[in-house]
Amino acid sequence: MNRSVARPRRAHAGGGPSWWVYALVGAFAVLVAGIFLSAFLNSIASTWFGGWLPDAYTTKWYRFAIAEFDLGYVLAITIVVGLTVTIVSLALGVPAAYVLARRAFPGRPLLLLLLILPMLVPPITYGIPLAAMLYTARLGGSLAGVIIVNIVPAMPFVVLIMTPFFEQIDPNLERAARTLGASPWRVFRRVLLPIALPGVLAAGLLILVRAIALFELTFLVSGAKSQTLVVALYYAAFAAGIRPSQAIDAMAVVYMVTGLALLLTALRFINPVNMVIRVRQ
């Protein structure tokens, strides 16, 4: 139109060309997809002798894995552990998050840090003494032990997610309810809970996903009868010489599908970037 000829200007108010972003992310996605895909293909291959694709397909490895690794039982354990850990962590963490969000008291930032610390510290560092403690308390190797141990990193996660969430709910809503005659319990039930519910559910989903994937702590504490899926997978992979790799991959696929299903459900409700932005404050 009325423009002068050459425009040696920045392309967009965004910061430049963006093709390389897609390229990089694309490469990463292809890599990760390739990794999972080859495991998946292996799990449905009857034989695979070194071509690009398996020679023939079968589902026998899944049946084998289910029998060999007692997958049904392990899955049940995993679900029980996951759900219990989630519920307990929510029960502990949500009230704590609420108090942290609403009340100001001396030492609040310190307390917040303390509550979040277990999530930031790698599990091995406190896991071994914790396991030792649990074994002395005769809880080692039991389902209860596994659940207890997984609560430690899960509850801080709840606090981390829910505190900024509560902070964002206008405190005036609660005050308005109080002036209209609602007792604190009523306020919680009729005002807070409905508003907080989506956040709580989202956090719960995320915890479930994490609880299922958490390896180290369960590994240190579980016994033969209380292994979660990921730990069973590790043991199977560890014994790779003895067990057929296809069966191990079958189990891996089961694990992956479970985790992915939960994760994708969670992602529909949350944007991870928003989470991180709130979190870093």
């Binding site: 108010a13 990794i35 009230p95 610390l117 997978l233 590790y234 991180v276």
Partner: protein, 305 residues
Amino acid sequence: MQRAVRHRTGEGAAVPAPRARRGGAVLLPLLPALLVVLMLFIYPFAYGLMLSLHPQGALAKAGAFANYAVFFGDPRERTSIWNTLRLAVPVTLLDLLIALPLAYRLRRPLPGQRVITGLLVIPMTLGTVLLAEGMIEFFGPAGWLNKLLLALHIIGTPVQFVHNYTGVFLSLMISDFPAVFLVLLGYASGIDPRLEQAARTLGAGWWQRLLRVTLPLLAPGIAAAAALSFVATFSVFPSAVLVGQPAGETRVIALAAWQAAYERFDYPQASAIAMVMAAIELVFVALVLAARNRAYQGPTIGGRG
């Protein structure tokens, strides 16, 4: 009922409504969570520390620090620190290097932003065990990567990607990258875009804006990401076993601790090793924080009335 409502400047929307008679009871809901943290986290640390200072068995008479002496004295044990550092430091640096431009570019939303972040979050949540297991196929001598490289004539014979240092390195890069990226992205998107615009109107080209405005403001984020990444990679465990060489070059410190506990049933020794691990991580985090404090002080939102 009289209520004193104090306005509080600063973080959050917390406006306290203290009622003198309630006092500490208001904090009651916090208690269970706090107890859990204290009993199941802080206490194990203290217990572990104490345990490590009470050597058992043959070392029982060798004094409180015998565990540590043994650990540092034994060359095989000692090298585990080096093995782990060899992995943690390069992975952290490389992930930062790759994630930084990516996060910088994505601070303004791009079409498909959610897909991108979703893609990156998936490997992060599925965990290292699955990744390691999958890698055995993909990176194996008969796996797709080798096949591709052979087909493109980039290599002549299959390269050994797994069951060595490379395997663990790759596994850590893949599992660590999304976390680093998300942290950096969080910080990058939190920088007020008006600041860059102001810098432009004052004559700063893109390079100067990056150097003088964006990077200093990103320093806290870079520090956080570096700390998080190092701590996570330094405590690597399952991948070191599954795609590494646990008896040799990828015998990481976490593995040393585990072996002490579960193979030799020497819990004091295991705790000692865990303490050493924690100490090294702490030192690193402290260093990073000190460096970032020198680079920048203050919030990332421009001065506002």
